[in-house]
C-alpha cells in the first residue's frame, strides 16, 4: 500500500492552521479573564472541548470529500479505506500533540504571569505538564471522535436520511472512547459522568482507544465497501 502522504499532509496542514487560530483566540480569552476578572483555572482545559468536534468533522470530511475524490481518481474503496485508516492513525496523535503543546504554552504563560493553572475536571493526568498522559487522553478521545465521524458520514452518504439511524451507534463509539479514559462526556447542555473507572490504567486507556478506533473503522468499512458514488451531493 502506498503511504497516504498527501492525504495526511493536507489534513495536517489544515489542522495546524486551525490550531494556531484556536490558540490565539484561547490566549486572548485567558488574558481577558485575567484582566477583567479572576483567573483561577486552566482556560486551555475548557477550550479542549472544541477540538473533539473538529475531530468529528475531520472524520466526516474524510468520507464526504475524500472518498468520492479517491474513487473518481480511479482508486478502489479498499485502497481508500487503508489510506484513510493510516491517515487517522497518524493524524489523531498529531492533533493530540497540538493539544499537549497548547497546555505547555499555557503553563509557560501562567508561570510568567503568576496565575494558578488548576484543572477543573477529572483527567488521566494530574498536571498539564504530565505530557505522556495528556497526550494519551486526547489521543484516545480523538481516535473515537474521528471514527464516529467517518461512520456517521458514511451512513449519511449511503442512505441520506436513513443515516439518522447511525447516530446512536456513532454516539456509542464516542462514549466508548470517553469511557476508556474514565472522564465525563460533556456535550452542549449535557454533562454525563461516565465513572466507568475513576483512574484507568494507561494500558486500559490505550487498549480502549485502539479498540474503539478499530471498531469504528470496521463499522465504517461495512458501509463503504461497495458504496456507489452519488450523482449529486445534497
Amino acid at each position: 500500500m502506498r503511504f497516504p502522504s498527501r492525504l495526511l499532509a493536507a489534513n495536517l496542514f489544515f489542522a495546524g492552521m486551525v490550531w494556531a487560530a484556536f490558540y490565539v483566540v484561547t490566549t486572548l480569552i485567558t488574558v481577558a479573564i485575567a484582566v477583567f476578572g479572576t483567573l483561577t483555572h486552566s482556560v486551555w482545559e475548557g477550550a479542549t472541548q472544541v477540538p473533539r468536534w473538529f475531530a468529528l468533522f475531520v472524520g466526516v470530511a474524510m468520507i464526504r470529500e475524500f472518498l468520492p475524490l479517491y474513487i473518481a481518481h480511479g482508486q478502489t474503496r479498499r485502497q481508500f479505506g487503508a489510506q484513510a485508516a493510516v491517515t487517522i492513525a497518524l493524524y489523531a496523535p498529531a492533533l493530540s500533540a497540538l493539544l499537549v503543546l497548547g497546555y505547555l504554552l499555557e503553563t509557560l504563560l501562567y508561570n510568567v504571569a503568576g496565575w494558578p493553572q488548576e484543572l477543573a475536571r477529572a483527567h488521566l493526568f494530574a498536571s498539564p505538564t504530565d505530557v505522556p498522559l495528556v497526550f494519551l487522553e486526547y489521543l484516545v478521545e480523538f481516535l473515537a471522535w474521528i471514527v464516529a465521524g467517518t461512520f456517521m458520514a458514511a451512513a449519511f452518504y449511503r442512505w441520506q436520511g436513513g443515516g439518522l439511524l447511525s447516530i446512536p451507534p456513532g454516539v456509542g463509539l464516542i462514549l466508548l472512547g470517553e469511557a476508556a479514559i474514565g472522564t465525563e462526556l460533556q456535550l452542549p447542555f449535557i454533562q454525563i459522568p461516565l465513572d466507568v473507572t475513576s483512574t484507568p490504567a494507561v494500558l486500559t486507556a490505550l487498549a480502549g482507544g485502539i479498540g474503539c478506533f478499530l471498531l469504528g473503522l470496521a463499522m465504517t468499512w461495512s458501509i463503504i465497501r461497495d458504496v456507489p458514488l452519488r450523482n449529486r451531493l445534497a
Binding site: S5, R6, A10, E65, P68, L69, Y70, I71, A72, H73, G74, Q75, T76, R77, R78, Q79, D226, P228, L229, R230, N231, R232, L233
Partner: protein, 308 residues
C-alpha cells in the same frame, strides 16, 4: 482500452436504469453517448468507471472486470457534473490530489489547460462559476491521460469560446495521445464532428451503435410534392413528416439504394442529409418504442446488442 459490456443491468431499487445493454467499444476512438434525460447515460458511465456496481451482467475494460479492481480503475477517468475530482478548497488542491492519484498525470499540460481556460491555481473552487467548475473538470480529465476517459456533459455552464477551446484541446490531445474517449452530451450538433462512433440509448436500452458517418448516411430527408413523397416513402421507415402547403418533407431512416435514389430524382424529389440531432430526436421518440423506428434488420441486431 477496449470495453466489453454484456447484458448489463443497473437497478435503483424498483427502477431499472440500464436494462440488458450489450455492446463493445474499440480502443483509440472517440465515442458519442447520446440519450434523453434519464435515459441511463450517467449510470452507464458510472458503472464503466467503477463508481457503482452493476446489478447484473458483466462489464470488462481492457479484458478485466472493473468494480474494485484498482489495476483497471486507475486507468479510467470519468468527469461528472457532481464534481468529485474538484470539490475541494482550491484549484491547487484539486490538482495536488489529481497529480498524486493519477498515474499518467501530465502537470505541464494541466498548467497549459488552466491558462487556456483562464483558471488560476489560487481560485476557490466553491466560489467558481458553473462554467469554470466544468472547465476545471475538463483540465483534470484531459491532463489525467487515462486510457479510458469519459466526460459526462462536461460543457455545462461553459460559454461558447470555452466549449470550442475544450473541443480543440480534446482533439489535439487525442491525436497526440490516442485513447478511448466517451463523450456524453445534449449539444449533439456541436459535438457530432468529434464522434467517430455514436451510441444512442433510450430508457436504459441501446437503440443504435454505429460509425457516425454510417448513422448519418442512414438518414435522408425526402422533399417534394406531398403525394410523390408519400408514394416514394411507402414501405420505408419514416421518422417524421412535415408539410408546407403542397410540399412535404419526410425523414427516412434506412439505406436508400442507387435504384431508389434514381427513382427519386426521376420523380422530381430532392434527397438531402439529416442532422444527427434530428435523427437522435426521432430515434428516441417517447411516444413509441424507439426500436420500432429502426429497420427490422437493425432492430434484430440491437436486441442481440451487436449493431455493428
Amino acid at each position: 482500452m477496449n470495453v466489453e459490456v454484456r447484458d448489463l443491468r443497473v437497478d435503483y431499487g424498483e427502477v431499472r436504469a440500464v436494462d440488458g445493454m450489450t455492446f463493445s467499444l474499440d480502443e483509440g476512438k472517440i465515442y458519442g453517448l447520446l440519450g434523453r434525460n434519464g435515459s441511463g447515460k450517467t449510470t452507464l458511465m458510472s458503472v464503466l468507471a467503477g463508481f457503482r456496481r452493476e446489478s447484473g451482467g458483466t462489464v470488462r475494460v481492457g479484458g478485466r472486470p472493473v468494480f474494485e479492481n484498482g489495476k483497471v480503475t486507475s486507468e479510467i477517468c470519468l468527469i461528472r457534473d457532481a464534481g468529485e475530482t474538484i470539490d475541494i478548497d482550491k484549484v491547487d488542491d484539486a490538482l495536488y490530489f489529481a497529480e498524486w492519484l493519477r498515474p499518467r498525470w501530465d502537470a505541464a499540460y494541466a498548467d497549459e489547460l488552466l491558462e487556456r481556460f483562464g483558471l488560476r491555481r489560487k481560485m476557490s473552487v466553491k466560489a467558481m462559476s458553473k462554467g469554470q467548475r466544468s472547465a476545471l473538470g475538463v483540465v483534470v480529465g484531459l491532463a489525467g491521460r487515462s486510457p479510458l476517459t469519459m466526460f459526462d456533459e462536461s460543457y455545462l455552464g461553459m460559454d461558447a469560446p470555452s466549449r470550442y477551446a475544450f473541443y480543440d484541446a480534446l482533439l489535439a490531445d487525442f491525436m497526440a495521445h490516442s485513447r478511448t474517449i466517451i463523450l456524453s452530451t445534449h449539444l449533439i450538433e456541436e459535438y457530432s464532428s468529434l464522434f467517430e462512433e455514436v451510441m444512442i440509448i433510450d430508457r436504459g436500452r441501446l437503440v443504435v451503435q454505429e460509425e457516425s458517418q454510417t448513422l448519418l448516411s442512414r438518414g435522408t430527408a425526402v422533399t417534394g410534392p406531398a403525394d410523390r413523397v408519400e408514394e416514394f416513402t411507402a414501405g420505408l421507415t419514416v421518422l417524421n413528416t412535415r408539410r408546407l402547403g403542397p410540399t412535404a418533407s419526410a425523414m427516412v431512416y434506412g439505406d436508400l439504394d442507387e435504384a431508389r435514389r434514381r427513382k427519386a430524382r426521376e420523380t422530381g424529389l430532392e434527397l438531402g442529409p439529416i442532422a444527427m440531432q434530428d435523427l437522435f430526436v426521432h430515434l428516441t421518440e417517447p411516444s413509441g418504442d424507439a426500436a420500432r423506428a429502426v429497420p427490422s434488420e437493425d432492430a434484430s441486431a440491437d436486441r442481440s446488442g451487436d449493431t455493428r
